[in-house]
């Protein structure tokens, strides 16, 4: 079975007034199908740049990349047909109704009119949005809006889903709901999930494997237990200790503690 994501030497440099900045410096990464992978790193580590490249929003400066079995450089259209992406800020217009957004999204994924309407009802049912279909997106709560963002990304039932800090700003109950949703997606459909997060407990609880980036490079990868053993000093080390040992910084914003969710 081919990998869901395979990168070799993935690089991105930006030209600024003060010279070139190497945001991502040669990332080699393989994500097998059906894996939930947690992509972690301090602010400015290159997480977002990597994610934007993998989702076709940004062209890599160098490197070979296959996403969902398609070459990212030569066939970005093929990649787009096979991936779903939930940006941190979401992607819905607050003035537009939930139904309009879901149906338009279906049409953009080239579903016919009746098929798009049917898929809208189906997704709303699956993500508990049925009663909200005719409300403007702006009237939804944080948790509801996040479920809508995910419904939009699942329109074409992609085998690979990218989630950029999906639970930032959510209350504990919505967080727990989202974790369950991600697990259910993998169990029911074998979906590969690539998620970035600031919350170490989230990475610990949800991801099969963690990839830690710093300064545009991968500094460690493995299961949570492996990383704690290898870099944190003992199997009883916390992931925070491990993270500090690897990057010299704490994960997340200094004062922010993740709400507990199960």
């Amino acid at each position: 079975m081919p990998a869901a994501i395979h990168t070799a030497g993935l690089t991105r440099t930006f030209r600024t007034k003060n010279g070139t900045v190497e945001a991502v410096r040669g990332i080699d990464l393989t994500v097998p199908q059906g894996e939930i992978i947690g992509f972690l790193g301090p602010n400015g580590a290159g997480k977002t740049t990597t994610l934007r490249m993998l989702t076709t929003l940004l062209t890599p400066t160098a490197g070979k990349v296959t996403v969902a079995g398609r070459d990212l450089i030569t066939d970005p259209g093929g990649v787009r047909e096979r991936i779903g992406y939930v940006a941190q800020s979401g992607g819905t217009d607050p003035a537009v109704s939930v139904r309009e957004e879901l149906t338009t999204q279906g049409r953009l994924y080239r579903l016919g009119k009746t098929e798009a309407a049917r898929r809208t009802e189906e997704l709303a049912g699956e993500l508990d949005l049925t009663g909200l279909l005719d409300r403007p997106c702006g009237a939804l709560s944080g948790g509801q809006r996040r479920r809508l963002d995910i419904a939009m990304a699942l329109t074409h039932a992609p085998g690979l889903l990218f989630l950029d800090e999906p639970t930032t700003g959510l209350d504990p109950a919505s967080r727990a709901g989202l974790w369950q949703l991600v697990r259910r997606l993998r169990e029911k459909h074998g979906t590969t999930v690539f998620l970035t997060t600031h919350y170490l407990d989230e990475a610990d609880a949800l991801a099969d494997r963690l990839v830690i980036v710093d300064g545009g490079r991968i500094v460690a990868q493995g299961t949570s237990a492996e990383l704690k053993q290898l870099h944190g000093g003992s199997p009883d080390a916390t992931l925070q200790d491990t993270f500090i040992a690897l990057t010299g910084r704490r994960a997340g914003r200094e004062t922010e503690n993740a709400p507990v969710a199960v």
Binding site: T59, A87, L108
Partner: protein, 251 residues
């Protein structure tokens, strides 16, 4: 190619529904030229403007171009708001044709301009404007091309900047001189030589002159052909630039 047409239709449909849902906006967008029509137009009725036709046939074409200038150059504002909400990125991750994301918006913008222009024309008829139907249709063709050109440039700019604070000053500082220098309120035939010469560097002037000739039924003269050529050339250039910006993944 077939995807481009379907996708353009889907994108246009989305924005047309949004515009129809906020119909009051159509009226507000046409308010400025309407105010000029009602409170400025009557002043010109007995003044010799030196052109062909009566004062309404001179003023209304100018007001139509003014409407086109203002509503189309600010089109990018809506894109900036959508960028802020992540709507643009969300759409760019779908297989939708990149060009359709631009063309679909332009279809809405041109239709919206036609609706507003019609409103202005109906008001002008009440005040005493008379113009041949064929001339009005030709004028709409020119205005549609100009609207597509300006909106396209506006979207290209909106794709490249990140905030309304960067966007609005550029547009405002271009619009005001362009309005004055293209003879929108009074024809440039009244201008002293130097001002007339400067205004010949502003492409909108030729569109205004062309529309004026269309409104007086002078289809065969040079000004209408020149106005049409300028509008078409602007549209081609602007669409080329817009296409490039929308195709580029990093915008």
């Amino acid at each position: 190619m077939s995807h481009l047409l379907t996708d353009t239709g889907i994108v246009a449909g989305r924005y047309i529904r949004q515009t129809l849902a906020a119909r009051a906006g159509l009226l507000f967008g046409a308010l400025q030229p309407l105010v000029f029509l009602v409170f400025f137009g009557p002043l010109l009725q007995d003044v010799d403007l030196g052109g062909r036709g009566d004062s309404w046939q001179t003023l209304v074409p100018g007001l139509l171009v003014q409407l086109c200038l203002f509503s189309s150059t600010f089109a990018g504002f809506t894109l900036l708001i959508e960028k802020h909400h992540g709507v643009v990125e969300r759409m760019r991750v779908t297989p939708v044709s990149r060009l359709a994301l631009l063309l679909g918006r332009l279809v809405r913008d041109v239709l919206q301009l036609f609706a507003q222009s019609l409103l202005l024309l109906v008001a002008a008829l009440a005040f005493g404007l008379r113009a041949p139907v064929a001339g009005v249709l030709i004028a709409f063709g020119l205005l549609g091309l100009l609207a597509a050109a300006l909106a396209s440039l506006s979207y290209a700019l909106a794709m490249r900047v990140s905030s309304p604070q960067e966007f609005a000053p550029v547009i405002s500082s271009l619009n005001m001189p362009a309005t004055l220098l293209s003879g929108i309120l009074l024809p440039m035939t009244l201008a002293p030589g130097w001002l007339d010469a400067v205004s010949r560097c502003v492409p909108f002037r030729y569109v205004v002159d062309g529309v004026r000739d269309a409104f007086t039924g002078h289809y065969a003269g040079g000004p209408l052909a020149l106005g049409a050529a300028v509008a078409a050339a602007l549209a081609a250039l602007a669409l080329g630039l817009g296409t490039q910006v929308f195709r580029k993944a990093n915008a």
